[in-house]
């Protein structure tokens, strides 16, 4: 059996003894696009920063991170440097501050080419110009020697993407890549990501709290809450029928532009402080469906019959398709 491209197993992260990630199990297949959704602070970004060893020294990371079966968690600096940018590239939320302000943009891209593809001098410049062109920077040759502050936010994110592509990674982690951009630019960047994935065949993990953006680029979605994955399934599945009350809540909080005007249903309360998580299911204090068991026993992430995985004692009941199907079966 061909192993998955990346496999995370019981990945745990603690900052100064405070556990923020409670064992993440996640597979990303070759060429697959996975969305990670959840409120700020639920551990979406930390998961991948931890996987790549990019967290500051005070963070303790345990568990397993395998790339095509090869363990990199706790690996040497050398191993990690090879993976970063070469196998797994990452782009970030705030493109303008994610580029080094005192280094010319051309050099920031060729630097990555030199590390991962041993390209130098003219060859590197030609390839960098090709990448800039590919991500839609007009007039790349003239702008090769400019500094990041001479580009707009959207263009900076394009440049970040060009830099990420420089190492020809198998997986691109896009950590809220559109959050800091305005709506039209967001759409352009999403289109670019979809297009690049089609062209290069690389896998992508799209981290966002924008479910609309996730639905555009992802095939599979994981909803995270307080450092755990609470529901995982195919994108259409989760969108059509979220089973975890938290996932359901996320969808209820999206304004609709079709149909009658309705009040949005917010999820009451706030994300619990990782220093003192409630007993049982971390979502139980905010959950309308919680029962006694939810406050004492932690539900595990288990596969359910329709192929998704769910961590809930009292999932939102299925209302639509299955009963209809049963009736048809009875009729037959």
């Amino acid at each position: 059996m061909i192993p998955n491209l990346v496999e995370l197993r019981s990945l745990r992260v603690a900052f100064d003894g405070v556990q923020v990630l409670h064992g993440i199990d996640l597979d990303v297949g070759r060429g697959e696009s996975v969305g990670l959704v959840g409120e700020s602070g639920c551990g979406k970004s930390v998961t991948w920063l931890a996987a790549l060893g990019l967290l500051p020294g005070k963070a303790s990371v345990t568990g397993s991170v395998r790339i095509e079966g090869r363990e990199i968690c706790g690996g040497s600096r050398h191993v990690l440097e090879e993976v970063r940018g070469g196998r797994i590239a990452m782009i970030f939320q705030d493109p303008s501050s994610s580029l080094n302000p005192v280094i010319r943009i051309g050099r920031q891209i060729t630097e990555a080419l030199a590390i991962h593809r041993r390209l130098h001098g003219e060859a590197a410049k030609t390839e960098a110009l090709r990448l800039m062109d590919m991500v839609g920077i007009p007039d790349a040759r003239r702008r090769f020697d400019l500094y990041p502050h001479e580009f707009s936010g959207g263009q900076c994110q394009r440049l970040m993407i060009a830099m990420a592509l420089a190492g020809q990674p198998d997986l691109l982690i896009a950590d809220e890549p559109t959050t800091a951009l305005d709506a039209t630019i967001q759409a352009q960047i999403l289109d670019l990501l979809v297009q690049l994935r089609a062209e290069t065949g690389m896998a992508m993990v799209f981290i966002s709290h924008d479910l609309g953006a996730v639905s555009q680029v992802c095939e599979r979605v994981c909803a995270m809450y307080a450092g755990r994955i609470v529901e995982q399934g195919r994108m259409e599945q989760l969108f059509a029928e979220p089973r975890h009350p938290y996932t359901r809540g996320l969808f209820d909080a999206i304004p609709r532009i079709d149909g009658p005007r309705q009040r949005l249903i917010p999820i009451t309360g706030t994300v619990p402080n990782p220093k003192n998580l409630p007993a049982g299911c971390a979502f139980s204090p905010r959950c309308g469906r919680a029962v006694e068991a939810c406050r004492s026993d932690l539900p595990n992430l288990e596969p359910i019959h329709d192929g998704r995985r769910l961590a809930c004692h009292r999932p939102v009941p299925v209302v639509s398709a299955p009963p209809v199907r049963t009736r048809t079966l009875e009729a037959v």
Partner: protein, 308 residues
Amino acid sequence: MIRFVLTRLLRAVMTIFAVVTFAFVVLRMSGDPAQVMLGPDVPQDAVDAFRKAWGLDQPLWVQYLAYIKSIFSGDFGVSMRDKVSALQLVLERIPATLQLTLPALLLKLLIGIPAGVYAALHRQSFADRGVILLAIFGFTIPSFVMGLLLVLIFSVILGVLPSGGQDTWMHSILPTITMSIGGIGILARFSRSAMIEVMGQPYIRTASAKGLKWSDVVWGHALPNAAVPIVTIVGFMVGSLIAGAVVVESIFSWPGIGRLLVVSVTNRDLAVVQCILLMIAATMVISNLVVDLLYGWLDPRLRAQTAH
């Protein structure tokens, strides 16, 4: 850019002018050179003759105009004590001072910056705490205390180094160390805090995420961003190359500008004091100007601002 340099130059000239004026007025109001030079028991006509000879009998503004005029023709006056050109007297002393201040500056840079960077990269470690402690120790102890302490240890108790004078290179060791310790502490602290701030920036995470080697991340991506605050401090240090040794030269009887200044002020040797103050102001102003130009070179964002 040219306009920027020109405005800064103009401002520099204004600053020097203000210093010169201030020195001129204050010196003349704070004591009578005739009294100091001639002693308390001389007859009044001798004092008057002295005043007349040096033009001190003229009204202040006449003296001032004459002084400014002569400065512009390169004449900085004559020492009342030694009867030679003040400028020559000052220039003769500069090499001695630089013999202390240049090596001291080098020590500050070579020890202070790496120590600060190392501490920043190993934050909260034993080494970091050590650096902070030594840095605070370094710049809180005044140089006259530090100088005497070193003399006590190395000259009096151990007897390995001379305590004053300028005869051999051994003589310059204690004053150089005394002078550099405070600066090492200051640079270490500034480099440390600048590096800590830069290392927390998103672009450093980007550089690591790209797969850059750790050393390239630190030296290639972080340090250039931390350079602006460090250069500011170094600029002040360069600016005080001429005048930074007043106390230390006095402690170690080192015949440099600092000693000359102390002696000349005591004697109310007006031309010499004015000449030294002018020199100090000029070096400070020039080094500030260079620092301003360096900012633009170090940080392209500032370059963009000054162009507009």
